[in-house]
């Protein structure tokens, strides 16, 4: 039996994209409208390289205000890389180079005048694995306000910590043990603590990199509920491997494949009537 025959990815039928006919390769031009009215951030023609290897190809995407954008796609498709471009966390990786523009308030965050420290205060991040600092619960949440000098006295600080924990839905569980180490909480609680820590500096955008992949279904449900709540005040970008999660929490979905943004649109459309064949195959579970 010919192995190549069984492993070959089928060439998608050309639907409505003006791609070159007879193209033997996959057509990876973005399908769907990547813009939204009143965007919080704009990604324009972004290419990302790790050394010689290109990880992201010409991606354009808007991050809407007070809504959740889900990034989905198979492993290694560049979702996390693109997410980390939004608050310049890629700066900390040796050999990583970003080309193109990422705009916030019409200013390019990759401009030389932009201070990544201020940017990261406005674009917060929650990581895949809960990473509370080995400090008390209080100090974990107070970390951001303290380093950014947001508070004048202890009362202010306590107020911020309480509000943040409350918005993260964690206050009732930890209010009697604020001085105990954050690392002593359960996985789901730790992740909510990290969310509280991120929102304590009142960011405008929150980036979430597979925030539930290390959690059990109950803790996941709580976080998803929380994301729904947070949407009222923040713009959220979430990377996830769970298509159900993307369908549940997001308003818009972007599907990535091998570093290309293949399709973007409202979550409902993507999951009910995907236009690109790759998207359809991925969400129906035929590969990925």
């Amino acid at each position: 039996m010919d192995i190549t025959e069984t492993l070959a990815i089928p060439i998608p039928e050309q639907l409505d994209s003006p791609a070159v006919p007879d193209q033997a390769d996959l057509d990876l031009t973005t399908v769907g409208d990547f813009t939204v009215p009143d965007p919080r951030m704009k990604i324009r023609d972004v290419n990302v390289f790790y050394g010689q290897k290109q990880a992201i190809f010409d991606v354009n995407l808007d991050i809407g205000s007070n809504s959740v954008v889900a990034m989905i796609g198979p492993s290694g498709c560049g979702k996390t890389t693109l997410l980390r471009c939004l608050n310049r966390m890629n700066d900390t990786i040796d050999g990583c180079r970003v080309e193109g523009r990422v705009e916030m308030d019409d200013k390019n965050v990759y401009d030389r005048k932009m201070d990544p420290v201020l940017l990261r205060a406005r674009v917060g991040m929650v990581f895949q694995k809960p990473n509370p600092f080995p400090k008390s619960i209080f100090d974990n949440v107070a970390y951001g306000p303290r380093i950014h000098g947001l508070v004048r006295d202890r009362t202010d600080l306590e107020e911020i910590v309480h509000t943040s924990l409350e918005r993260a839905g964690l206050l009732d569980e930890v209010k009697d043990r604020m001085d105990q180490p954050g690392t002593g909480l359960s996985g789901g609680q730790q992740q909510r603590l990290c969310i509280a820590r991120a929102i304590a500096v009142s960011p405008e955008v929150i980036l979430m990199d597979e925030p539930c992949s290390a959690l059990d279904p109950i803790a996941t449900a709580r976080i998803e509920e929380l994301i729904g709540e947070l949407r009222k005040n923040f713009s959220i970008v979430i990377v996830t491997h769970s298509m159900q999660q993307a369908a549940r929490v997001s308003q818009r979905t972007a599907y990535f494949h091998l570093g290309y943004l293949v399709e973007v649109g409202s979550t409902k459309d993507i999951f009910t009537t995907p236009k690109h064949q790759l998207t359809e195959e991925y969400i129906t579970g035929r590969f990925g």
Binding site: T92, G124, F133
Partner: protein
């Protein structure tokens, strides 16, 4: 046949047994099919070699250990008038050994010693023959047993693993027993010292002048064995050393682990570690010839009276010496802090130095303290630099510009040159050694405890 040749013969025979057993096992199963054996042919080979060769080698080594003493006893027995020599027995044995090993001594020795030496040589030749015969016959018997008992059903792999484990265990306990032996020998001599000088006087006495009067009427050599000035000097110098090493080592570790680009790190780290490879005696003359006089010159220019051999010079150079200890342990500990901590902090908009100060260092602190304590033990035990640069006078002072002396330096001076092992002066060295041993032991325990506690944090 010399004993040296014999051991090579035994090893060669054992390797022959290795190949023989391997081939033989394969021949005993159908089609020489390895899958039919309970273990790989190599395991049978090893087991065959061990069974055949190990007992013979054991006999060989035990024999060599005891041969000298037994032969000497035989020689002494044939000498006339053994009772009269009881007191000088050790001396006589020494003479005989000299005569055996050294033709010059043989020429100069008296009749009795020559006779003994001749007799020893004779016996020794016989003994070597007997050794060869014994070892070879043990090997032969064992080989026969291998032929009889090594069958394809023997679980050779399991047995070889067990033997290897036993051998490794033996090696590790050997180191422990050596340590115990050292402690016991020091303890024994120290207890003799404490028969003349009380423990209280030794531990709390403020004066150190270990000169004992040889004659009753001698002046100024009363002998005072208060170790406080020595320990004070040790602590002073170690303190100065840590004052230099802790900040510099820590900061260089922080730079190397968090800030340095890969290229600089690859170049600087090995260079820092070269510092640890410089012999301490080289540091010693650097301290004595360069740093000491430089400090004195500088002190004079600003009107300070600095001794040319000062605690400051020795401590400073010692600090430079232990920088690599501090930096390499701190570097390991800082690198061990999970990347997630850094990401978390940087993602909040913290700068590199804020991340370092508020997250990484607190997380790594226990490990760093452990590393510092190990460096302190090292500083306390250091001798050469202090001998050369800090002087020998036991001043009880906290002034780093004066000459002081340390415990290790006093041990050296007490034991260098001619000694009499019944004088408290010499025995004091062992008491000092014992005390020092306990001090560093306690420090190491604390360090290990702290480091272990640190390990639990992320697991």
């Amino acid at each position: 046949m010399s004993p040296l040749f014999l051991i090579f013969l035994l090893l060669a025979l054992s390797s022959a047994a290795y190949f023989f057993s391997q081939r033989r096992m394969l021949r005993q199963v159908r089609n020489a099919n390895v899958a039919r054996l309970s273990s790989l042919p190599e395991h049978f080979g090893m087991l065959g070699a061990i069974w055949a060769g190990a007992p013979a080698l054991l006999v060989y080594f035990v024999w060599l250990i005891f041969e000298g003493d037994i032969l000497m006893a035989q020689v002494l027995a044939i000498l006339p008038d053994p009772e009269s020599m009881a007191a000088t027995r050790e001396l006589l044995i020494g003479d005989i050994r000299n005569a055996i090993n050294n033709p010059m001594s043989y020429q100069m020795a008296n009749e009795e010693v020559r006779m003994a030496a001749d007799r020893y040589q004779e016996l020794s030749q016989t003994a070597t023959l007997a050794l060869t015969a014994t070892c070879l016959s043990v090997f032969a018997i064992c080989s026969a047993l291998v032929l009889k008992f090594l069958t394809p059903q023997v679980r050779a792999r399991v047995r070889v693993e067990k033997i290897i484990r036993g051998f490794l265990l033996l090696c590790s306990t050997l180191a422990i027993f050596t340590t115990v032996g050292i402690v016991l020998s020091v303890l024994f001599e120290a207890s003799r010292f404490f028969q003349t000088v009380s423990v209280i006087e030794f531990l709390f006495g403020l004066e150190w002048s270990p000169q004992m009067a040889i004659r009753e009427d001698q002046v100024g050599s009363s002998g005072a064995f208060g170790a406080v000035p020595l320990f004070a000097g040790t602590l002073l110098i170690s303190f100065i050393a840590m004052l230099v090493a802790a900040p510099i080592g820590l900061m260089s570790a922080i730079y190397l682990s968090e800030y340095a680009p890969a290229k600089i790190r690859a170049a600087v780290k090995p260079m820092l570690e070269i510092l640890a490879g410089v012999p301490t005696v080289v540091y010693g003359f650097f301290a004595a010839i360069t740093v000491g006089p430089a400090l004195r010159g500088f002190g004079q220019s600003i009107g300070l009276d600095v001794a040319s051999e000062s605690a400051l010079a020795a401590g400073f150079v010692m600090g430079v010496m232990i920088i690599p200890f501090v930096s390499s342990i701190s570097d390991d500990v800082i690198t061990a802090v999970p990347q997630a901590m850094r990401d978390g902090s940087l993602g909040m908009g913290a700068t590199n130095s804020e991340t370092m100060r508020r997250v990484i260092l607190p997380a790594a602190l226990p490990g760093i303290i452990g590393g510092l304590l190990l460096a302190i033990s090292r500083a306390i035990g250091e001798t050469m630099i202090v001998v050369m640069a800090a002087g020998l006078s036991a001043n009880l002072t906290a002034n780093p510009l004066e000459a002081v002396t340390t415990v290790t330096v006093q041990i050296v001076t007490l034991l260098v040159g001619d000694q009499e092992f019944d004088s408290p002066k010499t025995l004091a060295a062992f008491a000092l050694g014992l005390t020092l041993f306990f001090v560093t032991l306690v420090l190491n325990f604390i360090a290990l405890y702290v480091v272990r506690k640190y390990r639990e944090q992320y697991e």
